[in-house]
Symmetry: none
Subunit: 245 residues, 4 copies
DNA sequence: CATGAATGAGTGTTCATTCAT
DNA sequence: TATGAATGAACACTCATTCAT
């Protein structure tokens, strides 16, 4: 009925079919019978490769996340700064979820909240990458990139939770095409979080906010006394900003 | 078999039992038979009150969210500032989820990702409160509390997604008692988000970041010239902060 | 929901509703709940009057056939000739079935083929009238109205079976309005049967079938001899008929 | 429990069992469980072959009437005269019903009065043969075999209705062995009907019914005049009959 | 390897019927 | 009498899973 590329192995054809059907219906509502038809094999053949319907279910994310997590971890060593590495991890999440809607539907809508899945090798990969994200955040706190009172676990929850929420929402609305994709939101999103947790480390001393009049007065004062030095702006963000009206 | 308070109506007893069992197992794995035993009624009685197993499922959040959403909306008019209102909504979420672990497990782990639930009256209440949160954020952007380039939808997703993620995580780990409850994380969490999106509008003029030495020098200078006025601190946040280390 | 005349007793209201619903759906598909709603009483009330769903079912034809059979039997003594009495019985059947479509649907489509119904007082009345029809036929055979080799049981089966078949057919086609009602078919039908079984007893003597030519010749002959008497026509059917063609 | 010939296919075994049980109890009272036991297969196997209990029900007459109707139609072309063809059709009905009591019980007592059955392919075959009977009767009317004022629909109803009634009655009485089987009644039955509807077409002219006295007188008269010709008797029935006193 | 054929085990749902009030 | 409320007892149907070929 469906002409799957004969180039793919039976096993892959089964997993492809299963992914699609599990994602579109749900694990419980999907039937082996339907998957077998879609994959063009007999039901019994499915049991040749996967002992159990649940085994089939878990085999899918195991394969995908193994494939993906590896490459995502691979690039990390090439990125020095904490924020860049955080972004790299989130980027790979978003990319994976966006490019494989069936997969993200399956993982986010069904597996994520399954206790049994959390004991799975498949979930191990996910946990690993989540853990490395946590470590990076901790590193950022330790090295002063982020405020020392920041809660690394909370921050990771913000990062992961937001992205998951965006995808869940997107799926629940039928994956509408939007002018702004979730990937497009990644940087604005990250900017907010980072902005909220960055240490203002250069500000050892006093921060003065002067209204225009005062500023002008101070300016005259300083011109009169050149021995007074203005602070140098920090690296991360301009420390002296001309605010709009 | 189970000694439920005879003070509760049959209907309530059924819903209580169902909530517990649906939450602990899952809708699909729960059986009417088990619920009926737990509630101390016959199976047929359940069908007297709820036409369908699914009707029973959806009746639970409908009741709870009707009860709760109302009161959460009720306090909003009493809170003037945008950030306070945002906090109030999130507070009520966290409170509800934390006080009713069965309910939050049910909603977050099963219903949230059910297409059919999203068409339910029960979900309508949830959507309404989510919408009011979105409106408040927009208001904050419009009135200059938040940066004008902020994406209200993204911000709401951050707020909801993070909280949901925290609770999901908590449930998936077996609801461990922690020294820091999720409620305890609310304010730090909010502070990060708000910190990340607040407009720095009060700083019309110039912001100076002085190191300690400079500050000391400036202090002497100003003492020497009392005509120079220091800016008054803004309303929203202390404008002059002694930075640690 | 339905405003039944309050003049009718509860019991009658229940039986009316039951007749309609049993006839339209079927005994098995009808529910006490639906009947109770239709009758405007509670389900429990039905059980006050009728111990069982089946009791209710059988109570309906019992009442109707008691009412009807009585009057049908009542007229028989007034009719002397066998054929007239046969017609009277069939007439009352057709009349009953035609005027009470719900009743005929119930009896013919459901009860007639129910073993349990055949042990019922309700069926007793039907059997009685069927028996009296059989007796009349036998009488007709005995008194020479019908051929002595006629099978009374077969003849009754023809009479009853045909009428039942006509009504069953009519019901199965949704009781269409036809230009010729079943009642209209009664006499033609009876004529065929009677025609098929009548003894030609009145024809003591000789029956002559003359062709036109012969007849003309005979006519002339008879005119010439007025002493020859033509036979008087019988009562039941014209004994001398001008055949077409 | 039951030793069914292992030579029959599972499907046939199921249908055999179902026929017996449906006929003996009734569709509604029969259970799949009982049928499965009787057939020596699991319940699930029944659903392999028949999607539904009702599908199983309708599959039975479909098979039987397909098998039978075909052969009954096959002989018709070999029979020239209308009455013979009518007899052939009725003969095959009676034969089928008599040889397959379970089948006739099922069809006559349950299916015939089921609206859903009438929309079935199974019923189509029955309708077809009923229609061909109707056509033959019409033919008989058209070709002058039967009286031109005969109502073909009524006649068919007599034929079918009588046979059905005889069988229904027979079933309702527990299928007693009688010295006269229904098949034995077929010809007497047909003779009555045909007798009732045959055209007396040879009687072009005048029919005289003479009493004995007249006949004697006429006899003398005719003897006196040998030029007067008596009509020749027709083919179908003796036209001059000595009537029993 | 692949599968056709068979089934065990399980469950939501329906309703006639009961009975305390 | 009348009924609201409760339920016991059934049953059709589904599927994951097995296994001989």
């Amino acid at each position: 009925m469906v002409s799957h590329p004969r180039t793919k192995s039976r096993k892959d054809r089964i997993m492809d079919a299963a992914l699609r059907i599990f994602a579109e219906k749900s694990f419980q509502e999907a039937t082996i019978s339907e998957i077998s038809k879609e994959a063009g094999v007999s039901e019994a053949t499915i049991y040749e490769y996967f002992g159990t319907k649940e085994d089939l279910l878990f085999a899918i994310p195991e394969k995908i996340s193994n494939d993906t997590a590896k490459e995502s971890q691979a690039v990390l060593p090439f990125i020095k700064d904490v924020e860049g590495r955080m972004r790299a991890i989130l980027f790979s999440y978003v990319q994976l979820y966006q490019n494989n809607p069936h997969y993200s539907a399956l993982v986010l809508l069904q597996l994520m909240s399954s206790k049994r899945f959390r004991q799975t090798a498949a979930h191990e990969a996910i946990r690993r990458s989540a853990h490395s994200l946590l470590e990076i955040i901790r590193e950022g706190i330790a090295d002063g990139t982020f405020r020392s009172d920041a809660d690394a676990y909370l921050i990771r929850s913000m990062l992961m939770g937001t992205i998951e929420h965006l995808f869940i929402h997107w799926h629940m609305q039928g994956m509408p095409r939007r002018e702004k994709s979730i990937m497009d939101m990644l940087d604005p999103f990250l900017e907010i979080v980072l902005n909220g947790i960055r240490a203002k480390k250069e500000q050892q001393g006093l921060t003065l906010h002067l209204n225009l009049e005062d500023a002008r007065a101070l300016g005259q004062l300083l011109q009169a006394d050149p021995t007074l030095n203005l602070p140098k702006s920090g690296t991360k963000a301009p420390r002296m900003t001309k605010n709009k009206k």
